[in-house]
Symmetry: D2
Subunit: 360 residues, 4 copies
C-alpha cells in the first residue's frame, strides 16, 4: 500500500512536534510537508526546532531535512499532500481563516485548534464517542462550496480524561444530569514557552484561561446531534469545572462527581461497563486506537500522570477510584495524555477514522 | 509578664519542628520541654533533628540545647510545663492513651493528632468558628475525673482552606446544603519522610489515606452544637471531597462548589462578607491571630500556594476566583498554610484562646 | 533621621520586585520612585505587577499606589530621589546608556545589570570583599564630567555563593591558584518569564548563556586593584565553571574545588577562618549586612537551597562539606540567595556602604 | 532458539522492576523466577508491587502471576533458572553472602549491588570498556571451588554518564591524568521510598552517601588490569567528585573537567573519536547494546535528563558542551539513564556479553 502524504501546520510547536514524532513509521500516513510561522520558513526542520525540541526521543530521521514552509502560503501544500494536520498557535481568527483556505484548496484539515470548534457544521470528534458526526461533512462542503476539502476538529485536551468514561455510561443507558469536576493539568498543555517556571515550581495555579468554559461547553456539542445540516447541543447535562495547572510535564487528571437521572449505575456495574467498552476505532482496528479505550485500575492511588499517561500508546483513558459520592451518585478520577490522546494522537485518530470512512 | 512554660510532644517531627519555630519569641509561651520517641530521648534537640530539620530558618537558639525527653514518660512534663502541644506521630490508640495520661496529670493538651477528634466531649476547635466549644471542658474534666488537665484538638489541615470562608457565609445567614470540593495538598502534610520523591516528581497522586473522610466529617462536628455534655453534629450539610497530593512543599488548595438553601448570596455580597469577617481571635487580639482571617484576592490566577501561603504570618485563609457555579450556586478557591494555620499555628491559636478564657 | 528617597529602575521585574520588598521598612531609604518600560508607565505599581507579583508576601502598602514612570525618561527621577537602583532588563547597550544618563543627571546608580561591569572605572563591589574599590568614584566622576552622580555595580549572582569564602582564605594569607566549580542555579535568576516550565520540570539544563564567562572573569576584577584610575585584574587565579539550571525557585549552589599555592590551609583551620570572618559591612553594622557573612554547617547534607537560602535575612553565604580534594587541595559547597544576596539585597548593601562612606 | 530462564533477586525494588520491564520480550532470556524479601514471598508479583510499581508501563503480563520467592532461600532458584540478576537492597554483608551462595549453587550472578565490587577476583564490567575482565572468571571459580556459578558486577550508576567517553579518549591514545566532576543525580538512584519529597521539592542536596567514593575509586578498577588472578587498579588517574541529588526522576548528569598527559586531544578530534566509537557490544550486536554508545549533541543546552535519558533504548551515553577548560584541558557534560544503562540495562548487557562468550 502506498502511504498518503500528509502535512503538519504549526509543526515546530509542542503539538506539532508530537505529530512529527507520532507519525514516524505510521502505516498509512507519511509526513511530506511541514509548515510554521514565517520566521521558521526556509530552514530545515531540525534547525527550526534546534534548542526547543521537547520530545523524549530524537527528531525522526525522515523529518530532519524537510524544509519548513510558511504556513500562511496555502498553495504550497497543494499537490504535496493529501491532508493536513493543523496545530497552529496563532490567534483565533487567523487560524479560522487559514484552515478554511486550506479546505478551500481541496485539503482535508484535521485540527487541534479551538478556532473552528463552534463553527456550526464543523464536527468536533472523539472517535470513540461521536464518529457519526463526520456525516455532516458533505453539508459542510456544500455550504462552503468546497470540493474534497473539509475541516474536522478535536475538542480541548482537558475533556479527554473523563468524557469517554462518562459517555460509556450514557451509552449503557444511564442519563447523566450533573457533573462537577476539578482538573489537574500538565504544563505541556500551554505550549512552549507556555507556563513560566517561576509560576509552577513548588506551586499550582487555580486558573487556565478559557479552559473551564471549554470543559463545560464542548461536551454538549460532542454529545449532541445533527439537525438541518448543523449541530444541536445536548443541553440536558450541567457541567461545572475547576481547572488547575500543576507541575507535571504531561497528563491531565480530572476528579469527577456525577449525578444521574432516576436510573443509577452501581460501582461494580460501572467498572464492568468501562472494562467492556469498545467503540468504532477498536472495531475498525485503527492504527492509533488503544486496544482498550478505558483502563480501570483498582489500586487506590491511581491513576497518576507519570505512571499512567503512556498506557496503550498514550491513547487510553485510565480511570480509578470509582466510589459513591455524598452529594451526587458516583465519583471517580480520570487521566489521559494531553499532548497525545488530547492533541496530536487524537488528531491522527480522527484522520484514520476519516480514511476508513472513505473521506480522504 | 512571666511566660508560661510549654512542652511539645513529638517535637522532632514536621509539625513539632513548626511548633519550635513558631513559638520562638512568643509573648506568652516559652518552650521548656521537648519530647519525642524513645530513640531521640537523651539527645540534645539540635542533635535529634540533625540532618532532618525542615524549617526555612535555623533551629532557634533557645531550643538547640534542650534535652529531648521520652514522650511516653508522662511524669517528666509535670512541673516542667503548664501545658503541652501534642504532635505525636504514633498510631491512633497510643496517642489517645498518652494524651489522656498527660491530661490526667493536670496538663492541658492542645493536639494536632486525629486521635481524640471524635471523643464525644473533646472540642475540635477553629477559633474563628467555634470558640464556644471550649465550654465543654468542665464536663470533659468531670467525666474523666481530671483536675486542671483537659484535651482540645484541632481539625485536619485540609479543612482550613475553605471552612472559615464557608462559615462566614453561614454566620451571615446563608444556609449551606451541598459542598463538592477537590483539594491539591502539599507534601509536608504527610510528615517526614512522608511522600517518596519517586511518587511526586512530575506527578500527582489522587488519594490521601483517610483524608476525604476527615474532610467530609470533621466540619459537621465543628459546625455542630453541645447537648448533654457531648457534641452533636450539624448534619444538614452534605460534603463530597476529592483529595490529591501535589508536588508543593507547603500550602493546601481547595476548589469548592457550594449549594445554598433558598437564600443565596451574590458574588459581590460574598466578597464583602469575607472582607469584613472578624471573629473572636481578632477581637481578643490573640498573638497568632491573623489581622484579617479571610483575604480575598481579585487576580484571576490566585490564590497560589507558594505566593499566598505565608499571608498574615501564614495564619490567614486566602481565597479567590469566586464565581457562579453551573451546577450549584457559587464556587471559589481557598488556600491555607497546612503546617502553620493547618497544624502548629492552629494549635498555638487554640492555646492562646484557652489562655484568654482563663482555662490555663 | 529623615530617610533618603530612592528610585527603582526596572521595578516590575523579578529583581525590581525584590528591591520593593526588601526596602519596605528600611531604616535609611524610602522608595519614592518606580520606573519600568513604557508599557507599564502610567499605571499604579500594583496594577503593573498584577498577575505577575512573585514575592512570597503581598505588595508593600507604600508601593501599591506609586505611579510607574517610564525609565527611559531620565529627568523624571531628578528631584524625586537621591539615588537609584537599576534592575532594568534591556539589552546591554541600552542599559549602559541609560545608567550613564542617570549618573550624568547627578544620581548615584547602584546597578544589578552586567552592562557596566567591565567599564574600566566602574567598581564591581561585594562589600565584604572589595569595599575600597569605591575609592575610584572621584576618578569616574572626573573622567565623565559628572557631579555627584556615579555608577556602582554588583557582580553576577552566581559568584556570591563561593567568592566570599574563597576571599576569606586569601585574606588569611593563602594564595588561591586554581578553582574548578559547578553551579546548580535557581530559575529566578533568569527573570520572568525566564525559564519555561517544559524545560525544567523533571529536568536540568547544563547551560546558562554567558554565565560561565561571568563566573570565570568577574572575580578577577573584584579581587583586583586600582592603578591609574582604572581597575587591573588579579590574573593569578584560574577559574573553570560549569553552570547548570535546576528546578529550584531561589538559591544558587556551587560545588567548588580549590588549589592553593605552597601554603595550604587545613580543614579545621579553614572552618575557623570562615566562622571568624567579619568585614566592613559587619563593622559598620550596615542594616542589610548579615551578622555572620559565612555560616558553616556541619551536617553533611547541607547547604540546601530551600532550607538555607534565607539564613540571616537571605544575606549570608552558607557553606558546608569542606573536605580534602583528590586533585587539588580542598573542596566545599557554597550557597546564597540569588535574588537577595545575589541581586537586590547586594545592591542595597552597596548603597548602604556608599552612604556610610559619605558618597550619597 | 529456546530462551534461557533467568531469575531476578530483589525483583520488587526499583531496579528489580526495571529488570522485569526490560526483559519483557528479550530474545534470549525469559524471566521465570522472581525473589524478594520474606514479607513479599508467597504473593503474586502483581500483588507484591501493588501501589509501588514505578515503571511508566503496566506490569508485563508474563510477570504478573509469578509467585514471589524468598530470596534468602537460595535453593529455590536452582533448576528454575540458568542465571540470576541480583538487585537486592540489603546490607552489604548479607548481599555478599547471598550472592556467593547463589554462585556456589552453580548459578551465574549478574549483580547491581556494590557488595562484591571490591572482591579481588570479581570483575566490575562496562561491556564497552573492559569486556576482557570476564577472563578472570575461571580463576574466580577455582578459588571458590564453584562449578559453573560465578559473580559479575556492574559499577555504580553515577560512572556511566562519563566513563565511556573518557575511556574512548584513552583508547585513542590520550592519557588522562586528572578528572574533576560534579554530578546531578536523579532520585530513582536512591530506590524506593528513597529520597523524601520534603528533601527535594524546590531543593537539591549536595551529598549522597558513599557516592563520591564510588565515583572516585571504581573507575580505577574498571580501567585496571588482571595480574595473578586478581585485579590491579589503574592508579595513574586522580578523580575528585561532587555528587548532588536533584529533583529529576531518572537520568544522571555529570559535569566533567579533564586534564591529559602531554598529548592532548582537540575539541573536533574528540567529537570525532566519540562519534566513531564502537566496542565489543556493538560488534557482537548484543540485543541491549546501543547502536551508538556515545551520542554527541551539538545544541549548547544539551544533554538534558528528561529529553536525552531514553536515547537508544536508554542505553546510550549522551554528551555535549565539549569545550576547552581554563584550568585543565577539556570539559564536557555527560548523561545516562541511571536505572537502565546505570542499573538493570547494564546488568542485562553484562549477561548478554557472558552468553556470547559461552560463559552461561
Amino acid at each position: 500500500m502506498k502511504k498518503l502524504n500528509v502535512g503538519i501546520l504549526g509543526a515546530t510547536g509542542m503539538v506539532g512536534q508530537n505529530y512529527v514524532r507520532l507519525l514516524e513509521g505510521h502505516p498509512w500516513f507519511e509526513v511530506s510537508f511541514v509548515a510554521a510561522s514565517e520566521k521558521s520558513a526556509g530552514k530545515k526542520y531540525s534547525e527550526a526546532v534546534s534548542g526547543r525540541w521537547h520530545m523524549p526521543a530524537p527528531i525522526p530521521e525522515a523529518a530532519r531535512d524537510l524544509m519548513v514552509e510558511d504556513a500562511s502560503k496555502v498553495g504550497k501544500a497543494v499537490g504535496d499532500c493529501s491532508l493536513v494536520f493543523s496545530a497552529m498557535e496563532m490567534d483565533r481568527q487567523a487560524v479560522q481563516k487559514l484552515e478554511s483556505e486550506y479546505a478551500a484548496k481541496g485539503l482535508p484539515v484535521f485540527s487541534n485548534s479551538s478556532a473552528h470548534r463552534w463553527t456550526e457544521d464543523v464536527p468536533m470528534v472523539i472517535p470513540e464517542i461521536n464518529p457519526d458526526h463526520l456525516g455532516i461533512i458533505p453539508a459542510q462542503q456544500r455550504r462552503n462550496g468546497w470540493g474534497r476539502g473539509f475541516i474536522v476538529v478535536k475538542p480541548n485536551c482537558s475533556l479527554q480524561s473523563y468524557l469517554t468514561p462518562v459517555y460509556a455510561l450514557m451509552k449503557a443507558g444511564f442519563e447523566v444530569k450533573n457533573m462537577v469536576l476539578a482538573t489537574l493539568q500538565a504544563v505541556s498543555g500551554a505550549g512552549y514557552p507556555g507556563v513560566a517556571s517561576m509560576d509552577i515550581v513548588d506551586n499550582t495555579i487555580p486558573f487556565i484561561s478559557g479552559e473551564e468554559e471549554k470543559s463545560e461547553k464542548e461536551p454538549l456539542k460532542i454529545l449532541g446531534s445533527i439537525a438541518g445540516g448543523r449541530f444541536v447541543n445536548n443541553d440536558s447535562i450541567k457541567i461545572s469545572a475547576h481547572c488547575n495547572r500543576v507541575p507535571v510535564t504531561d497528563g491531565h487528571t480530572a476528579c469527577v462527581s456525577l449525578g444521574f437521572g432516576p436510573k443509577k449505575p452501581g460501582v461494580e456495574e460501572t467498572i464492568e461497563i468501562w472494562r467492556k467498552f469498545k467503540a468504532l476505532p477498536q472495531e475498525l482496528d485503527l492504527p492509533s486506537a488503544p486496544k482498550q479505550p478505558i483502563i480501570y485500575l483498582t489500586e487506590n492511588n491511581r491513576p497518576q500522570p507519570r505512571k499512567d499517561r503512556d498506557n496503550d500508546k498514550a491513547m487510553a483513558v485510565t480511570v480509578g477510584r470509582l466510589r459513591p459520592c455524598n452529594v451526587f451518585d458516583l465519583r471517580f478520577v480520570g487521566l489521559s495524555h494531553n499532548t497525545v490522546r488530547g492533541a496530536a494522537g487524537g488528531g491522527i485518530l480522527n484522520a484514520e477514522l476519516a480514511y476508513k470512512r472513505k473521506l480522504l
